[in-house]
Structures are given as structure tokens and as C-alpha cells.
Amino acid sequence: MLFEELKTIQRQSDGTPIAAEDLLRLPVFKDISPQFLKKNANATVWRHFKRGDIVCREGEFGSTAFYILEGRASVALATPIAHVKAQGRPTGFLARLTSKLTSRLSPRQEDRREGEADRRSIPIDAPVDLAYDHPVAELGPGELFGEMTCMNYYPRSATVRAESDCTMLEMLRNVLDVLQKNKAFRAQLDETYRRRALDSHLRDVSLFRGLHQDFIDRLRDRVELMRFAPGQVICKQGDPADSFYLVRLGFVKVSENYPGGELVLAYLSRGDYFGEIGLLGGGTRTAACSALDHVEVVRISAEDFREMMDRYPEVRSGLERAARERQDANQQRLRMVRSVPLESFLAQGLMEAQSLLVLDLAKCTRCDACVTACADSHDGVTRLVREGLRFENFLVATSCRQCRDPLCMVGCPVGAIRRRNSLEVIIEDWCIGCGLCAKNCPYGNINMHSFAAQVEDHEHPGQKKAVVQKKATTCDLCTEHAEPSCVYACPHDAAHRVEPRDFFAGSLGQRVGKTGSART
């Protein structure tokens, strides 16, 4: 038993608030003010789980975190690891002519996507990441999970199940907030992170894969784990660059100031990094970074970063290349922001889009052939709606815009929505169907696709039951074909998939080059 003190505490039934004096006997609550605990007497409750009980389910919304006192729990993704995909590429002349797309779940063994080779783990709201090829992990006494749900009200990222009889503390945000300020508790959580997750976290960044174990062991004790409250500035544009950061929890907004406002360059989530441009370049921060919600980062000092660069030339060249790409993309965005004159173009977010489905209203007879084609291509569920904002004579239809500022990615509890290098937004196999991305998309362009799945029946161990689960879907541009079905099926030459700044360049009174490879 990790907590010998538990023997001295009289346990109450499940759901009963735990008395302040009992809490104070636990080492993690040792330095917390008794008055605070008394005032918040109902904010921490006993939770007892029998072996096999579900503690929380992925996708559910909640507002509490769990701290394991005894017993072991497994954490896993119950949703099938697969993505919704249009039915396979037709082969042969006749098959091509008659091919009809249908949506189905495509497991990764069958359809490995670009960038998957680099992925080793799935980030979740727990001190461990799940292995990409076997997304199950174990949690034990002294470990906290559900931090993001508790602090930021994000959906649960995984399903936690008691593997033995467990006793846990379930706590509300006010208690967790105070606990996180407690040095002893923080030290324990940080130690767990350093021991269990830092290694996989660093290695999941493809650039750091070549680091030797001895160097990671050295970093393990030297890195600083930092926390930031929502809105807090992590670093300012123009400040001296003194560290490199790896996002451990939450979302970081990277932005640049320009005459007339702030330009968001990127949202970074767990596994992303920042600060390399300043360290590799002139020694000053080129952009401001701030916490979008409760954020925790791993800070690597400039000294350690430089040592890493010297010892691992391949890491240096990789980082330099990534930094150059980021800078080029950022410059391009800034140039564009300065030159785009039309307010409505900006107000409608068209500048942020990299691919729009536009309908030329001077040609469109409102026959809905595009919508029918989209529905026919995707199991009868259209991914576009022939309605939206107008820009001049064009209707910007409700269909994924592949935004450069992808708000849909903010808050994904498992980081399942990402962009390819082409900036195309894709939803990864481990999407748990919580629907937060659909809610966050300002243009209503992400849909939830229901499908039947077989899951373990916890009431009848060893058996499976059929349930309806969801996966987020967005316009896939009918990549199986040369042209999206909506465009192909328009008899009036009214539907087009376009790069907006190029397409509207005439209206904007300029010619702006294509930025297909731009990356923030």
C-alpha cells in the first residue's frame, strides 16, 4: 500500500465527502490549509470501484479529477482505432466508371496514413501516453488522471476501468487547483511524469527520436516542469530566447503582433514544441506564446538545448529545417495580412482558409446536384450544405475550409485532429467521438458520423455488444478521385474547390501566390 495513512482513516461509502481531518492525514494534502478543506468539505469524495467497474468513459464531459489511493486501473480507448474513409479506390476501367463511394471505418493496418510512421503514442489526460500500436496503459496509487477535464472542462480522453478493487479521491477543480500549488503534491506528480511519460513524450517528437537514452536520462532531472493559467503569457515577442518548450498539457497559442492586431500563427497541443526559432536564430523570441487554457510545459534550458544541438547534428538539422519552414510560412502570412484590403474577406475568415468550396451564384441554378453527389458519395450523409456566407457573387458553401487557424483542433482531448503537411485537416483513427471539434468549428463544417461498433459488454464479461458510436468526419475532398464529387456533379460549372486568395485575387486587386506548402 502506497499510503500507509489509509489504515488510520475510516473509509466512508462511495460518494461520501471525505472529512478535512482525514484528508490532512494523506501526505498530498499535508500542507493544505485545514480551513480551505473545511470550507470545501463536499469538493472531495470517496470513490470505491470493484474490479471491472468503469471509472469514466471517453467522450463524456465531466468536471472532476481522480487521484488513486489504492488499487490499479487500466486506461484505454474503447472507440475502434480507425478512421472514416470513402470506400477503396476503384481499379479497372469499368470499376472506375461505376464506382460509388461509401463511408466505412478503415483500420490503420489497412490504410496507413502519411505521418503515421512517426507516431508512437496517443496523448491522453493522464500521466502516461498510450502506445500507438497498443493503446492500453495502467495507472496505480499516487497517480492523478482527468486533470484536463477538471481544469479545462474538456471531454474525458479515455476510458478508465478498475483492474482491481480501487479506492480513489474524486475532486473538483477548486481542490485540484489548490493541490497543484502544493509543493509536495506537485513534486509527486512531476516525478511520475519524469519517470513514466517524459521519455515517450520526447521520443514522440520525430526530431528527437535519435536522442540516446543517456541524454534523455540526463534531461529527465534537468528539465523544468512549468504550469500556466489560462491567458498567462509564456513568452513575449522580442524577449531573449532562453529556453525550448515541449507542451505537456493544454493548448498554447502562438501569435505575432502586426500593425492593426494580432495574427494567430498556430495552436500547439501536447507533443508540440516551440521556442526553437529564437534559440537557433538571433536569440530573441519571434512570436508570443500564451496559455489558451490550463497549460503545462516541459522547459529545456538554452544550455541543455545547445548541448543537444552539438551532440546530435541530425536533431539540429531537423529543427533548423522545421524552424525555416515555420518562419517562411509566418512571413507569407504576414505579407498577406498586410496586403489584403477587403474587410469582408477577413471578417468571413476567408483569409484563413486554404481550400474553399465556392458556388458561383451567377451560374448556380440551385439544383442541389452538388449536395446530392456529396450525400451519394458518403452513405447518404452529405458533408456539405449549400448555404453559407457570400463573397461577391460566390457562396462559400458549408464544407471544410482546411483553415490555417484550425480552431477545431483546440481542445481535442486525445489530439486526434491534425493537419497534414499540406495543411489538410484530417481526423485520426483514435477519435473518441466526443464532438468537441464539431462544436469548435466556427463554420459548422465538421459532422459526427454514426456507425455500429462492437464493444466489450462490461455487464457480461467476455461478451461483446453492438452500440452506435460516433466519429468526427469532415470533407475528404473525395481524394479517391481526381475531383471532388460535388464539383464533378455540378452540371452548370458553378461549383469549384479553390485556393481563396488566388481565386479572389482579382477582387482583392492583387495577385497573391499560392501557399499550398505554408506551415505555421
Binding site: 464506382s99 451564384l361 441554378t365 453527389a373 457573387n393 464529387s485 452540371p491 452548370h492 458553378a494
Partner: protein, 292 residues
């Protein structure tokens, strides 16, 4: 489909086909000036080509019903439909030697003319109407949603009136029960014109927007009616009047959209069945002519 510069190649090709057909017709027609053209080799060729054009044009409907099948972009089919469908008329006239005929052939010729003319009419409509709709109906919605949007507009208007009436009720409560205070009566008097206008003018218009003689259906008359209403209600209700005027304008736009939509698509009710009849009778004519 808008007939613009992108149709140039189809136009040139169609003119070329027409020119060649005209030359062939002239060459063959002179020797057989008094006889029947349809039974000659050239006449049969014209008949076959014209019928093939008609079939191709008719296949557009089938193509539209299979939008995901990769039989070629739908717009190519549409261009073919327009130009080859149009060409079928002179080709068939060459086939018949400009004779109307009797019985089945007369029916066929009548159908062909109606189909081609209705098609030309539709093409003209589809060339201009989308632009008109875009310009005139700025609050356009999905056609199938119009009924739903109308119901929402009526609800919004009811809500606005309720809110204004809420002021009235408040005055009643403040004045005691039964309400006899002068201030409450004054408030009721102030609101009465708005309520009357809503009950007598706006509500009937929103419930039956297409009804003939509805003054609010005309933009100028509506402007004048709302301007007059503003003079009758206190300044505190001007925002409500403005909102109601906005609802009225949206309703008019929906009505206009419905009308334009009908214009855009209703001609198909004539064009499509007659086209199918033409193809069917054309096939019968071909079999009968070749057999007998």
C-alpha cells in the same frame, strides 16, 4: 448553365456540324426537290444523327441521377445537351426536307419543336435568373427550407409583439386591478396602433405572403406603411417597428425567391416529359420507317 466564353468550342463545333449538314442537304435536296427526303441515304443519315443527338441530350437526366459515377463531368454532359439538343432540330428538318408530315411524323415534329423551344427558353432562364436571384434575393435560403424560415419569421414577429405587449401588461400591473390608472391607459393607447397594424396587416401577410393585394408585398407600399406606423407609436417602439420591417422585407425576399425558383425549374415540367415522349415516339418512328 450560363452561356459564356467557355462555350466557344461547342459553338464552333456546332456551327461546323450545321454547316456540313447544310451543304450535304443542299447537295442531296436539289436532285430530289419534289420527292421525300427521309427515305434517301442522306435523309436516313440525318435522321440517325438527329435521333442520336436527341438520345444524348436525354441521357443528361440519367447522368444527373448518378452523380458519383465517373462518366465524365456533369458540365460536359450539360454542354453537350445544350448544343447537340439544339442541333437536332435543323438536322431533323433536313431529314424531313422541311415537311411537317402527317400522323406520327407530325406529332414528332410538333414535339421536337416544343422540346427545343422549351429547352431554349430554359437555357435563357438559367443564363439570367441565377444572377437576378443573387442580386435581388440577398437573404436567400435553401428552397426546401423556405416554409421553415417563414414559420420562424412569424414566431419572431409574434415574440416582438409580445415583448411590446409586455410593456402594456406591466402598466396594467403597476396600475392595480382592475387597471384604471391614467398612465396604464396612456401606454395601451400608445401600443394600440402597433398591435392593430400587426393583427390587420403584418400577421395576415406573414401567414399568407403570396396573397394578392397584400400591401406589404410591395416594397414601396410597405415602406410607406411602416413610416406611417412610426409616426403613431412612441420612439421607444421604433426599434420594434424596425425589426418588424426587417421581417417583412425577408418575407418579401422569400416570396421572390420562391417565384424565381419556380421560373428556374418549372419549365422542366414541360421539357422533360415531352422529351421522353419524343424519344419514345422517335424510336417507334425509326422502327416503322425501317421496317415498312
Amino acid at each position: 448553365m450560363r452561356i459564356d466564353r467557355t462555350h466557344r468550342s461547342w459553338l464552333v463545333a456546332s456551327l461546323a456540324i450545321f454547316g456540313v449538314a447544310l451543304l450535304v442537304y443542299a447537295a442531296y435536296r436539289v436532285p430530289f426537290a419534289s420527292g421525300s427526303m427521309g427515305g434517301t441515304a442522306a435523309g436516313l443519315a440525318f435522321g440517325s444523327i438527329g435521333f442520336a443527338f436527341m438520345i444524348f441530350a436525354a441521357l443528361l437526366g440519367a447522368r444527373k441521377r448518378m452523380p458519383v459515377y465517373r462518366f465524365g463531368p456533369a458540365q460536359t454532359w450539360m454542354r453537350g445537351h445544350l448544343w447537340l439538343g439544339l442541333l437536332s432540330l435543323p438536322i431533323i428538318l433536313f431529314h424531313s426536307g422541311f415537311r411537317y408530315g402527317h400522323g406520327l411524323t407530325a406529332w414528332l415534329m410538333t414535339l421536337l419543336i416544343i422540346v427545343v423551344l422549351s429547352g431554349v427558353f430554359g437555357a435563357v432562364l438559367q443564363h439570367y435568373m441565377p444572377l437576378v436571384m443573387t442580386r435581388e434575393v440577398t437573404m436567400e435560403t435553401i428552397y426546401e427550407e423556405i416554409g421553415h424560415v417563414r414559420a420562424q419569421l412569424l414566431e419572431e414577429a409574434e415574440e416582438l409583439i409580445k415583448q411590446a405587449t409586455g410593456v402594456e401588461k406591466k402598466a396594467e400591473v403597476e396600475g392595480g386591478e382592475p387597471d384604471s390608472s391614467e398612465s396604464a391607459v396612456a401606454v395601451m393607447d400608445e401600443i394600440a396602433p402597433l398591435r392593430n397594424f400587426y393583427e390587420r396587416e403584418l400577421k395576415p401577410f406573414l401567414e399568407k405572403p403570396g396573397a394578392r393585394g397584400a400591401a406589404l408585398g410591395d416594397a414601396a407600399q410597405a415602406r410607406s406603411a411602416f413610416a406611417q406606423l412610426r409616426t403613431l407609436v412612441p420612439a421607444s417602439l421604433h426599434t420594434t417597428v424596425e425589426d418588424l420591417e426587417g421581417i417583412c422585407e425577408e418575407e418579401r425576399q422569400l416570396t421572390l425567391q420562391s417565384h424565381l425558383h419556380l421560373w428556374l425549374h418549372s419549365w422542366l415540367l414541360l421539357h422533360i416529359p415531352l422529351s421522353l415522349a419524343l424519344i419514345l415516339l422517335g424510336a417507334i418512328h425509326a422502327v416503322m420507317a425501317l421496317r415498312y
